[in-house]
């Protein structure tokens, strides 16, 4: 059904979808409404998809193949997507988001390719259309290849590699892509070959752009690429005069950019610094070997005694906790200590884990009550009254070098002020360095004791010791 009625229904569905996207994003800002918000946005998306299939074009029997392919594509995508999303471990969430983001970018790039081909056949070289197609292609391809590299790096399949003079190469490449793009738009009869050159160079740029960026900065990059894909979707909206694509894309584009900035602020770094500075690559060289002092070890029994006679205990969880799958165990320790009347909270650094909020998701998975998770400012305010701080698998977020060593690559990043607490126990696998690849003088501090071992095993022995007391 098309005609006036069909078109009106289609537009109403698009308006409804746009509203659900806005509401969905808005509701994601409060923990009790977030899930509903996500579902609303999903319903809106479903509505927009169904309405497009039903009302965009009149069904004609010679296009049966088109419809079959649409439904086949939807089915294949749904099956694979659901399977991947349900199978992925909570600790692997960041790379999963990155992967799905890459798929969206690829979708936008493919749309641009087809539309350009269409343009070549019809011969209607509208300036606006060509600009939108070229921009969608560039941004979509960069987002795709960049996201896949980010996915590979977080999965540990791809290491940090920086080409010599990589930044200059990147800038030259970017200028080349933009120049070619501009050239294609002003050509009288665009040459199809240029489009494929732009595609290739954009894919290469995405790879080279993400390749040198260190793992600690990966969340920022994923968030940035997320907003890129949003923009690519918005260009698609231009292309098809489609308001749902436009509002959805722009919303994500702007929201993603702000989120990227918020993440950078949490690490006290500027976005340019993240992109050009390549944190992880150069970090190891900085901050040479200073006089290190001695490390005091503690046994699980002594640590348990310290905990059991405290009145306020705080845990600083890090990625190590997630890797050891110890979020449930730490919750058991919380219950064991609470039975003894001990106040037990979690101090969450904004970038704990691999993404802002990642640690909260992991602890929520283990049924840790939401009010027990303190944000950094609140946690630091309470630190002076805390008897024991238990640092589990965290390193850089408690490194005092961020406050007192201007030569340190993490200098200026806000940290959890564990040194204000009366006692510190750091649970670590070994004396290895954190993600930023630098030493942590906290380990050598007077107040600090080290409890070496796998986070989960150590926590389990702590629990049994606490229960025996």
């Amino acid at each position: 059904m098309t005609g006036l009625l069909g078109n009106s229904i289609l537009e109403i569905c698009y308006i409804a979808a746009s509203i659900t996207f806005i509401l969905g994003l808005k509701m994601l800002s409060s923990p009790d409404k977030a899930r509903k918000g996500n579902l609303y946005a999903a319903y809106g998306m479903g509505l927009a998809i169904v309405a497009t299939i039903l009302f965009k074009e009149e069904f004609s029997s010679e296009k049966t193949l088109n419809y079959v392919l649409i439904f086949a594509g939807l089915l294949v995508g749904t099956l694979i997507g659901t399977r991947m999303a349900l199978k992925v471990k909570m600790t692997a969430m960041p790379q999963m988001v990155s992967f799905f983001n890459g798929m969206g970018g690829a979708c936008a790039a493919v749309i641009s390719l087809v539309e350009f081909d269409h343009l070549m056949h019809t011969g209607e070289f509208d300036l606006g259309l060509i600009i939108v197609i070229v921009l969608g292609l560039i941004i979509g391809s960069v987002s795709f290849s960049g996201s896949i590299i980010a996915y590979g790096k977080l999965e540990g399949k791809i290491g940090d590699k920086a080409l010599p003079a990589g930044q200059i190469l990147n800038i030259v490449l970017l200028l080349g892509i933009l120049g070619l793009g501009a050239y294609v738009t002003v050509m009288d009869v665009p040459n199809e070959m240029f489009i494929y050159i732009i595609l290739g160079l954009s894919l290469l740029y995405g790879i080279l752009f993400v390749m040198p960026i260190g793992g600690a900065d990966m969340p920022v990059v994923i968030s940035l690429l997320n907003s890129f894909t949003g923009m690519a979707a918005a260009f698609g909206g231009f292309l098809y005069d489609n308001q749902a694509m436009l509002t959805g894309g722009i919303l994500v584009g702007s929201a993603g950019t702000i989120l990227t900035v918020l993440m950078c602020q949490a690490m006290n770094r500027s976005l340019t610094n993240v992109i050009i500075g390549s944190f992880g690559g150069g970090g190891a060289a900085a901050g040479g070997d200073k006089e290190q002092g001695t490390v005091k070890e503690v046994t699980a029994t002594d640590a348990a005694i310290l905990l059991a006679y405290a009145s306020k205990v705080s845990v600083v969880p890090g990625y190590g906790l997630a890797v050891a799958q110890a979020q449930h165990t730490v919750h058991s320790l919380e219950k064991a200590l609470e039975e003894k009347g001990i106040d037990f909270t979690y101090a969450i650094h904004p970038v704990a884990g691999r993404m802002p909020g990642h640690m909260n998701v992991l602890l929520a998975e283990a049924d840790v009550p939401y009010p027990k998770l303190l944000e950094m400012e609140d946690a630091n305010d309470q630190m002076a009254n805390t008897d024991v701080v238990l640092v589990i698998g965290a390193n850089d977020v408690v490194n005092p070098a961020a406050e007192n060593d201007p030569s340190s690559p993490i200098y200026g990043m806000p940290i959890i002020d564990v040194l204000s607490a009366k006692n510190i126990i750091v649970m670590k696998r070994s004396m290895g360095k954190g993600y930023a690849g630098i030493e942590n003088e906290l380990f050598f501090h007077d107040k600090n004791r080290m409890l070496f071992g796998d986070a989960k095993d150590s926590l389990e022995s702590l629990i049994s010791e606490v229960k025996n007391l």
Partner: protein
Amino acid sequence: MDQILTLFYENREFIFLIIVSIFLGIEVISNVPAVLHTPLMSGANAIHGVVIIGSIIIMLEADPTNYFALILGFLAVVLGTLNVVGGFVVTNRMLEMFKKKDKK
């Protein structure tokens, strides 16, 4: 110059919509607490999957004998669906955990 001005004039409503949407996006996001940043990023990721509409339009408009458009269009539908479905399911999984807390 004329061409650019025409382009601007013809698309003025779109440009208006874009500017309002940019501010709306910033406004909506700025109140999100850090705890929800990961689900938010994931939810936003699912929403830009709206690009799938474009791939469906390609398929609807493609000539049934234009295999280039049909094959790439099919690929785009699969990619877009992966983005949409995967994104929403992953976000829902993350948020399900927060939900459990509230009932207690």
